[in-house]
Amino acid sequence: MNENELKLLWQSANEKLESSLQVNKKNTDEITRLKAKNVLASMKPVKVMTLIVGFVWVIGLGSILGNLIANHLGEASLFFLLSATIQVLLTAIAIVVYVYQLALINSIDFSEPVLTIQEKISKLKISTLNVTRLLFLQLPIWTTFYWNDKMFVAENWLLWILQGMVTILFTLVALWLFFNIKYENRNKKWFQWIFRGKEWQPILQSMELLNQIDNYQQQDEENASH
């Protein structure tokens, strides 16, 4: 089948399609009454729930910590205070970054050229990985919040060694993940293992799109250089 036959086949079928499509005015009016969707309305309930839990966690634990620091600083364990404060701060930053990125995605103007917009959306979606990186940074904190002064006596050297090894290991893993979770490593096995769940599909799909955009842009550069 040659090019003209292809086009003719497509167009003859579509002429009939166009005449068979009916537009219902009442239903288009229904669309015009829709308010612009807000960020939360565009999210899956499970993600909204996660955000709410995160928000309550930050406010709740933040208030307890605030109270401890203000009124009982001498009584509370410094290790607990420091670990919990870092954890709350990292969670709060992750929530703010996540909501900000979602708001940016929702406010994109779809009437710009296709490749420009797709590149913008894909990069924004992929940047939600930063939230995961931040959350991984919390790993070592879960091994330090229960420390107390009594642990630091000479007789406890075995406990010290064990505890130190666990904390160092968690710190190294957290730092390694923080620096290595990025688009460039998307094809690595460990990356695909971490992000294998269904909830990561939009991000992986964005990576695939970005790959296609790269191919298109490379072609543009090749054409320009010839």
Partner: protein, 174 residues
């Protein structure tokens, strides 16, 4: 000039209805190429119309309305993630009454059309957009404006896609 600064809300509603009426085929064809599943297609059509409606006040009449519309619909179709959002289900204004027409087509033509649709659906998202625009008889410069590619890149890419389709057709018919 930006559209929303010139006209009232009622006029904006009328304009929206008029655009959907005049270009209903564009919306439907794009939705059909990007979604094989009927429910997903309905969701995608709804999403496209919502974006057209949201973008209408910002429409700049220095662009052809078709360029503007293709950009929106293709952008929505490509970034549309099936079932990823909680949608308020509306009655979709577009209804297809195609079954009876398809029956009248000759079997051979119908078969070729189904093959073409199948091959297009197998292309990646951007190749699919290029092929749709090509089949809609858009010039290379119009396609470059919609896609944000250079005219020469449109030519190169289209050449490759057509070659790919030709091979698939010949494999199927031989």
């Amino acid at each position: 000039m930006v559209f929303g600064t010139m006209i009232s809300n009622n006029e904006l509603n009328d304009k929206f209805h008029q655009i959907i009426e005049q270009h209903k085929g564009v919306l439907f064809k794009i939705a059909k190429a990007y979604c094989q599943n009927d429910d997903d297609r309905q969701d995608l059509l709804q999403e496209m119309m919502i974006q057209v409606w949201k973008s209408l006040p910002k429409y700049n009449d220095t662009f052809a309305i078709t360029t503007w519309l293709y950009r929106i619909c293709l952008n929505v179709a490509i970034s549309f993630y099936r079932k990823s959002a909680t949608r308020q289900h509306l009655n979709i204004p577009l209804v297809e009454e195609l079954t009876s027409i398809r029956d009248e087509e000759s079997n051979e033509k119908q078969e070729q059309l189904s093959l073409l649709e199948k091959f297009i659906s197998e292309l990646n998202d951007f190749d699919k957009a290029l092929m749709l625009l090509y089949l809609e008889d858009k010039s290379h410069s119009e396609i470059s404006e919609i896609m944000g590619l250079s005219v020469s890149n449109v030519g190169t890419k289209l050449g490759r896609i057509k070659e790919k389709l030709k091979k698939k057709f010949s494999q199927f018919t031989s």
